[in-house]
Assembly symmetry: D2
Homo-oligomer: 376 residues x 4
């Protein structure tokens, strides 16, 4: 693991997610931006091999015989470090699990995409929300044509934790997110908007081709947008909207998607992840549950661990990314799929690149006066 030392939030989540299904065992890490803190964090976690920097870690692991090396590296640093670390590990032939947004610029994303193609390693981006079983079910319903011709996608992502100027109060999570040098030029649009974009792309299979964004830092003194609203146009004439904020007091992590087509509408909400609503023409609303019955597709079933009614949550969805990446590593190492086993199912480097292009287009739209902008 690179990043995720003491004081970090997402590092611990990655560790629980990797452990839940015994997908990976954490053995080595360079956990902080300074060697001292890296070592302290590594010791606190009882790692076998603690490194001072990610460069040392890359060198150290590369020097080990293949059977003793790490099988994959998790990159959980602030955004600006994703690219150099990921690129280096990919080029050295290590599988990578990288946090989102994958890189800060499209140029970096393309470089990384090319490197992954060249090296053939497994590369997963932790768009963790698409790890939920019912998001996989939503994807299936759309793919099976249950909604008819798609018409509209409404994305919402409401948070409130940045409603005050936390970054000025020493909050480490807020501080790097509010700093363009660490976060890139997108604030909320990168931190949460990119999740929404991935959710839409996963469920509908469609790319955003054009957008018009209104990005604003609503909290006085903040540099990057903490609120963003975008009109979206998808491939095939599908219309859309993204409404996102990190200053909606009281909202916690309220990511939602609604997809409408000529025959039906789907609704899913991250804070109630174990239910999926399906409305069809002239029929009562139907509520799918996570493990609710024979009507569910195999991808949703495979992504659930316990019976419906026993809530699975954020960590379990996150763990699905790890579990699928781990499975893919074994398959590429020569194992075969079991009878009836679905193919590994996780967001890869292309999904990561698409997200970066989305954020970049939104930032450009805003910079040019909130105008319609193509997504590269």
């Amino acid at each position: 693991m690179v990043g995720g030392g003491q004081g970090a939030f997402i590092g611990a989540v990655h560790r629980m997610a990797a452990r839940l299904d015994e997908s990976f065992e954490l053995v080595a890490g360079a956990l902080s931006s300074t060697p001292e803190r890296s070592r302290a964090s590594g010791a606190a976690l009882g790692l076998e091999r603690v490194y001072g920097t990610w460069e040392e870690m890359l060198a150290g692991e590369s020097a080990l015989p293949p059977e003793r090396r790490i099988h994959a590296v998790s990159i959980v640093t602030p955004n600006h470090m994703h690219h150099p670390v990921a690129l280096a590990f990919v080029r050295a032939g290590f599988a990578v699990v990288c946090d989102k947004p994958m890189t800060v610029t499209t140029l970096q994303a393309r470089e990384l995409e090319a490197a992954v193609a060249a090296s053939g390693v497994v590369f997963a981006v932790t768009y963790n929300y698409t790890g939920y079983p019912l998001v996989k079910e939503a994807r299936r319903l759309v793919a099976d044509g249950v909604l008819g011709d798609l018409r509209k996608v409404v994305l919402e992502y409401h948070q409130g934790w940045l409603a005050t100027r936390l970054e000025a109060d020493g909050n480490k999570q807020a501080a790097w997110r509010a700093d363009p040098a660490a976060a890139g030029l997108g604030g909320a649009v990168a931190d949460i908007g990119s999740h929404a974009e991935n959710l839409a792309a996963t469920v509908t299979g469609l790319r955003v081709t054009e957008l018009c964004g209104d990005l604003t830092p609503l909290v006085p003194g903040r540099q990057l947008d903490d609120d963003c609203n975008l009109l979206l146009r998808f491939e095939g004439g599908v219309k859309g909207v993204l409404v996102a904020s990190q200053v909606a007091v009281g909202a916690e992590n309220d990511l939602r998607i609604t997809v409408s087509g000529s025959r039906g509408t789907l609704r899913w909400r991250q804070e109630e992840p174990n239910r999926l609503e399906l409305a069809l023409l002239e029929a009562p609303l139907q509520v799918y549950t996570r493990a609710g019955g024979p009507y569910l597709g195999s991808a949703a079933v495979a992504a659930a661990r316990i019976p419906s009614g026993h809530p699975e949550g954020f960590i379990e969805a996150f763990a699905n990314v790890y579990r699928n990446a781990a499975r893919d590593i074994r398959l590429r190492a020569g194992e075969a799929l079991l009878e009836g086993e679905p193919a590994p199912d996780y967001p890869g480097v292309s999904a990561g690149a698409r997200g970066v292009a989305f954020v970049e287009a939104a930032v450009r739209s805003q910079a040019l006066g909130s105008v319609w902008t193509e997504v590269g």
Copy 2:
């Protein structure tokens, strides 16, 4: 009543709303666009005075001695008829209750506004959703500064009844709404978007100054937009969005508003009108109910008829417009407010004009290529 004959929907709602609190008794009408159907509809309702056309009605009522005339006329025709009928009755000194959008063009709205000012009559626009007690409470909470400085307004209005091309199947409601000659140039944006604008203006007291709209007829063969998404800018730097559709299969009449400020967020949803959510910084979410307790403001209390937990709905909210207009007619006729009685509280001609300007700006934004457009 003008309009609202057999086959109409909203006429019957107006009649129930007028009757519920004995605000008005229906005695005269020109209920349809042809004299024969007007007379048949009037006879079916047992009206005292049935007219063949609204012009006959105006002439007939004007000819009666004042104490025998109608006290007010309800205009519940398709949109294009609101202006001529309202203008004529206002100029003749009759109070008017007019459906929304008040007129088809801003020019008409201004003319009507001037006529109302000149004649001094009571003029109510049935933006019925702002008649709900908890919308009045939301307005109070904002006005009292409970949310702090306002930052963002999210408006949603999801319907699905036009997901198929009903207007081609003889559905009377759909037919005139899909016809620019009767509905004006706005489809969904006028039919439901105008309600959302009024809701925002009522709750926040703010006008939309600028907007950028993406209006689309998503159902093949339809002329007017059945889906509209708008980026909004309100006075004072407040940002906003309106997401509306009439083709979201399964959605019924799902109007929602969320208002965020520096200290709190309000959420209200028309389909669950008896609850209002209030989130304040560092406090548990609070749920206000319609008649729930001593914390409620007087306007909400005055607008409720029965104890909380006994649901009041659409007709009751609609009736509040009638009740307040009726009260205002009596006050203007010389009655005095009772001890502790709140002043009459209903959307007037200015609110109507503001709605028309909003629709017109949205249509213009779309016509010019979905660009930012000032609201006149």
Copy 3:
């Protein structure tokens, strides 16, 4: 109307309910227990014929020629007055709309039942909750066998308004309900438990044959039960429970029913009356809405006034009792059902008597030490 004068709650509800659909026009009344207050209340309402007492009203109306008499009397007094007033009016040949519980004792109920049978008048009991369209739909689903063989009925009725000793603070509604001389020997079990019993009987068509009750006045100083929990056995081996309270702080009017059978389960909740949940074996949960589509039965459709998504509430459900009773009066007077019109549908004197027997059995169970007791 008998009862329902100034200070009363339910009288005003009855009046709105009678008026909403123009079922009845209120023309005469003896509205309070003293002639002075009766006259003051009647004058305030602008009644044509104001009487000092119900006896005077009965005499006065009987003395009028039939075509000028009232068509029906609404009895909205405290419980102990229902029986004498209803009996006298029934015997005089007037139709009656009577509040619940219909009488205080089973003996009275039987006498009234016999009188109604003898006179042939329309007699409606305002078990208003069964007037909701989706309760009628629930009844249809059970009757059509959609749930399979019934197994269990769970009834809940949570209120909190009596959590403090309001009756000692001059609250008129609380005072008579807490007084055995006016309310009878059942407190919560009569006031709200009887509604729950009627809801179960309406939806399932089953009678409670045996019960074991734990009835308690939980607020110190109160005489009658304000909390009651009952184990129920219905005809045919169906098991059940009633959990009711008037001291559950924060609960408003939270009446719920769940019916399970071998193939499915129905759930309905009064505070969200416009949705009905239907769970069938191995299928996603379905949510029916009030006017939601072609799947609804004719009784539900007939009981709704406006499209789904436009909430109908308590007053509308109440009005359905009046509307159906009014229709039945006309039918018995010789009008014929229209093509496709459903037969009038309202709780009658037998439903009223069944409710009284239920309350009486619950009180007896408690008195004998909370033992199993047959329902007479």
Copy 4:
């Protein structure tokens, strides 16, 4: 681990729960009732030490030097095996994590309680629902007197998975639960009713002193109750009800608790575990969330891993039992509590015994004709 081999459900849950926080590493097991299947299951899980029977495991582990032995044994067999296995391991000085109901009879429970007292080992019962952070918060609110004097407890537990006769179709989970020899004499009352009892005791601190139960096998051909409804009396005159079923079609794992007192009411539902409703007299309803703010007590905060809005579920709650038991083992081994660290918090042998007594009283009540019965 004893039990939990291939085909079992709860064994895998225990393993994930133990692993999530690295509370325990699974190293040894006797996973099935036959040595062959035990060995196959152990091999599949890659255990270090696989035993054919629990007796072999006890002997084997006891023979190891203390520092190489297991630190605790998880007992996840059908109910009838809990007692002999737990007793033997406790007497041998091993810490135990035991599934519920702890034993089949009160006699066994007392014997186990005495053994635990004698040996001084850590003994945890996986009443996992009380591991949820907001259940701990509910307990705190009651203990702090926020609800005033307690008056009533409503417990509900609705499941539907046994609505058909699964035990006749080869379903392993259903088969042993339907078999008195393996499950004991309580069906639903033991399998889910015992969870509800523990939830009530945890939140309120009160014991059930007396109950009257109506227990029924509603599915034809079933021996043990699959539906149970109980009137409850708690210490101090608090009234209660338990409504539970395993045949409510469509219900998944719908455990609920409502506690009312003189000043407020609490409501919590397992399927939405991240919210807790608190209603206080004359105030709006408040909704607490899992990690929602400074108003939360320390026990709830300590039991949450990630920010509110990121749902934690069943596995996380389960893991809290393991985490606390593991912590207690270390404390008893001589570690000290950290500054500000709350004491370990998990259901112990007394809670387990109380649950057994509850089930036994319910079964006795039924056997004697559904009469009031003291809880031993």
